[in-house]
Amino acid sequence: MPAKSPPPEPAFEAQLGRRRRWKLLIAKQETIPWSFQSTTFGLDSKVFTGLTALATVLILAILAVILGNVLVSGLPGLSWRFLTSGTEKDMFDVNKAGVMPMILGTAARVILMTIFVIPIGVITAVYLTEYAHATSAFTRVIRGAVNNLAGVPSIVFGLFGLGFFINYVGGNMDALFRPGAAEPVWGKPAILWASMTLAVMTLPVVIVATEESLRAIPPGLREASLALGATKLETIIKIVLPQALPGILTGGILAVSRAAGEVAPILFTGAAYYMATLPTHLYDQFMDLGYHVFILSTQSPNIEKTRPILYATVLALLLLTFTLNIVAILVRARMRKKMRALH
């Protein structure tokens, strides 16, 4: 580089020191015989392979025991009549009890929750990845809040739903729309509030899954669209989000799996001990499979006699969660296939 002066040479002393150390190292080296025998006889490798395999087997075993137990004890009680009939006040009677209202209630609250959580979660994730400054204090506060939300115990969400949705939002809606009414309409437990509470609980899952899929999209695609004169919004809606759809659905699947079996958040916000009729409105309460399992195992006058329906209800809950998951996974697989046809 003729125009610029060359970089200054390191000080002579420093160079000398480095060379000396290097020489010392060479001098100290001894001749090592050419032998490739293992010094540990491959034991370390074997031990760790064994340990990791053991951990895997343990997890599989636990799952197998739970599923096996539920299947063996639940299958005898599971019948078409059990799945398709209501309880008619005989919820502890093995021959008359049915879980159809609970299946419908649980399915409805999970689907409602999905409708609330996906848009809010996706919009939040879009804000965090596409609009917010990655290093700003505000973004860090939101990220921290999302992470902390994921660590809050579910019963706290239940209490939050009771305090915020039912007492505050519902109470104010009643005061606004039905001033002076004796009975609260919105200001009491309802399937709407239960679903919203679950949505708040599963929000972090959807946000994190969506953020990850958004980040996996190469920045070049966004630049390509912007360089064509597309606005940021056009780029996000037409280029970025279609690419992120499978990831968003993964978030939805995780949220559904988590929410379907949760009882604590809906305990105060919408689940009913017993209802003679199915819920017909968003402000109705509902019966829930998970909560029903809790009722059967704690309120039964004769635990031995009700055990078959308890197990059958657990099995029904597992089947429902499984079905909801399968539907979501099939939708995602179809979407991926459609996208892969374009790859």
Binding site: P2, L221, A224, S225, A227, L228, A341
Partner: protein, 276 residues
């Protein structure tokens, strides 16, 4: 487009002589005046004053990190997307300061297209890649779209290779085809200026040759500014060459002059491969 006139500029802007006597090309389309750009504390561009002539190919050369890509991205304000970028001085396109408050970067980019180093077709069909760009500009009719897609692909010398697979994924094309699709997409919206950031650096020699032929062909209608690391490429396709080093514009002249008789020793050393 009226000549922007250089007399009123505060700084001396380098305006190289015309290589050919063509009065229709005697217009400076892009004029930068004492353009400085900082990424946070680091200064990437130091008082760049140069003008780019209309419907000519102008090559920006220099070692990595010399600021040539940064300058290129100034011309369609792609640097807006990066945090902590500070720009002083002016960039005028067609006499209009593109950093002034009433300039919408979206509208600017509709007239100043860009082709990137890494080809970046959308994961959509070949047809949709171009139709997307056209729709952004308000084209809706299917027949009209189809015609414009075909014309763009023809202009990018890609039509014959893809006409039977228009509705298959653009990602199934070879690297060179993908890059030509990106060029087709850029020219589909009829910009006046096309910025190319090392468009052939990831391509094999045959695909590079095709893209170079295309650039020479596009010169008839478009003003092209191209960043390249390939000296032969700059010599082959450009009318003007600007040599940058450490954020400064060292020399800017006709390509012929830069490669045969440069005024500065640094330029000579670089183009002959003695440093950089």
């Amino acid at each position: 487009m009226a000549d922007t006139g250089f007399a009123n500029l505060k700084f001396k802007t380098i305006v190289p002589a015309l290589p050919v006597e063509d009065p229709t090309r005697n217009t400076s389309l892009i004029v930068t005046d004492a353009l400085n750009l900082h990424y946070g504390e680091a200064q990437a561009l130091k008082s760049i004053s140069m003008s780019v002539r209309e419907r000519m190919v102008t090559a920006l050369i220099g070692p990595s990190g010399c600021g040539k890509s940064t300058l290129l991205r100034c011309f369609n304000r792609m640097n807006d997307l990066i945090d902590h970028v500070r720009i002083t001085g002016s960039v005028k396109i067609g006499g209009q300061d593109i950093h002034s408050r009433d300039v919408d970067a979206i509208e600017l980019r509709k007239r100043v297209g860009m082709v990137f180093q890494k080809s970046n077709p959308f994961p959509k069909t070949i047809h949709e890649n171009i139709a997307y760009a056209l729709r952004l500009h308000g084209m809706k009719e299917k027949a009209e779209l189809d015609e414009a897609v075909e014309q763009s692909l023809r202009n990018a010398a890609l039509w014959d290779e893809v006409k039977d697979r228009l509705y298959t994924s653009a990602l199934g094309l070879s690297g060179g085809q993908q890059q030509r699709l990106c060029i087709a997409r850029a020219i589909a919206i009829q910009p006046e200026i096309i910025l190319m950031d090392e468009p052939a650096s990831a391509l094999d020699p045959i695909a590079t040759g095709r893209v170079e032929d295309l650039i020479l062909d596009l010169k008839k209608d478009f003003t092209i500014v191209i960043v390249t690391h390939n000296m032969q490429q700059a010599a082959r396709i450009s009318d003007y060459t600007a040599f940058f080093y450490l954020g400064e514009l060292i020399e800017y002249d006709t390509t012929n002059k830069i490669f045969t008789n440069p005024a500065k020793k640094q330029t000579e050393d670089y183009v002959t491969g003695r440093f950089g």
